[in-house]
Symmetry: C2
Subunit: 225 residues, 2 copies
């Protein structure tokens, strides 16, 4: 029988993975549907007519889009099992603030390191480091961003642990250095090795191939004409 | 005696107004501190070292930034009086989704109509209209986005009611037309006339002067050289 929860995602999207992790932590059974973004399914187009993007969560026929909105929905719908956000309003605000910071600033600054070269890349590394310093600071005295356990902010920043090592390997530049960011580096390892995260991690080789291909157009555009 | 809640804002920021409205709806007493963004106060720089932006809410010495994060904090901290978000997780997700849509897509598309001219402006009008159609649809069968009462999404979209008429007057172009967007137009009026909103509305003439000045550099850049 079809399950009442369906998740539209892609195999590699870190935004889709956020939701996968949340559902697994909550022990929610769901059907996973991998989309091909070059040929989007009618179900995706109909469920997210605004952005036409994954992830989309379908629950009892209702659709929810935007990964952070979905995480809050999952946390509020399956309340008892494994709360993703803490109880305290200030701690909740902190988690939301840093999740937004990760999406608005962190991700783009690291992406710039990946697609730029030479002096522009050096500048991008400077900016990414400034952003990572804030996250390093936020980890002080904690194992996970959520404290002793993986919480909403850990899931939101999962792309750091998931993607950064892949990007670093491709460009041969260390973005998150152990000496400079000891807490963040330890967190990346700890998070990646948590059983529920590890079992859903996309294959490293496949990610390498995908992101190498994604970098090609930027390299080509940077060639002297 | 100083109040335990302080709000750092500017006189005209629609993001600061969101918080003003939330605190007023909740009957929370607070001290309002207007910042001069060309000469930011040490308190602002210290309270929001990441973005150095308003609004910042200070509550019992703790600081919270990002207007939508603040709104959720206010709703969770002063729970009983005037809930801003509905109870139902799906309805909460909807409000959050459209608030994000307003910030990510709505605001920038309307801003483009304001700063562009000629063919580029026509294209921007097309895009803004596409976005407004979604919001028009979301208002079907409702007086406010929150239903019978102003809710979180109304506050998040308050800039529509507050700013759009000012921008339209400056450029002499109707962006949100009554014929095309009857529900949205009615909402703009209804929202603007709600007592708690009306009494905090920045003076129309001052807004005209401010936004005329903000448009100058774009006009100058568009002059043939």
């Amino acid at each position: 029988m079809a399950k009442e929860v369906k998740l539209l995602k892609t195999w590699s999207s870190p935004f889709g993975l956020r939701v996968v992790w949340a559902l697994k932590l909550k022990d929610v059974e769901y059907d996973s549907i991998d989309e091909d973004l070059s040929n989007k399914s009618p179900l995706l187009l109909q469920s997210n007519p605004v952005h036409k993007k994954v992830p989309v969560l379908l629950h009892n026929g209702k659709s929810i889009s935007e990964s952070m909105v979905i995480l809050e929905y999952v946390d509020e719908t399956w309340k008892q099992k494994y709360p993703l956000l803490p109880e305290d309003p200030y701690e909740r605000a902190r988690a939301r603030f840093w999740a937004k910071f990760g999406d608005d600033k962190g991700l783009s600054s690291i992406w710039n390191v990946f697609i730029k070269q030479g002096k522009e890349q050096e500048e991008a590394i400077g900016e990414a480091s400034e952003n990572m310093k804030f996250l390093e600071e936020e980890l002080k005295g904690k194992k996970f961003f959520g404290g002793e356990k993986i919480g909403l902010l850990d899931l939101a920043l999962g792309w750091l642990a998931n993607l950064v090592p892949v990007l670093e390997e491709i460009i041969g530049v260390k973005i998150i250095d152990k000496q400079k960011f000891p807490l963040l580096s330890a967190w990346m390892q700890e998070f990646a090795e948590a059983p529920i995260i590890k079992e859903t991690w996309p294959p490293h080789d496949k990610l390498l191939t995908k992101f190498r291909a994604m970098r090609e157009p930027y390299l080509a555009a940077a060639q002297p004409k």
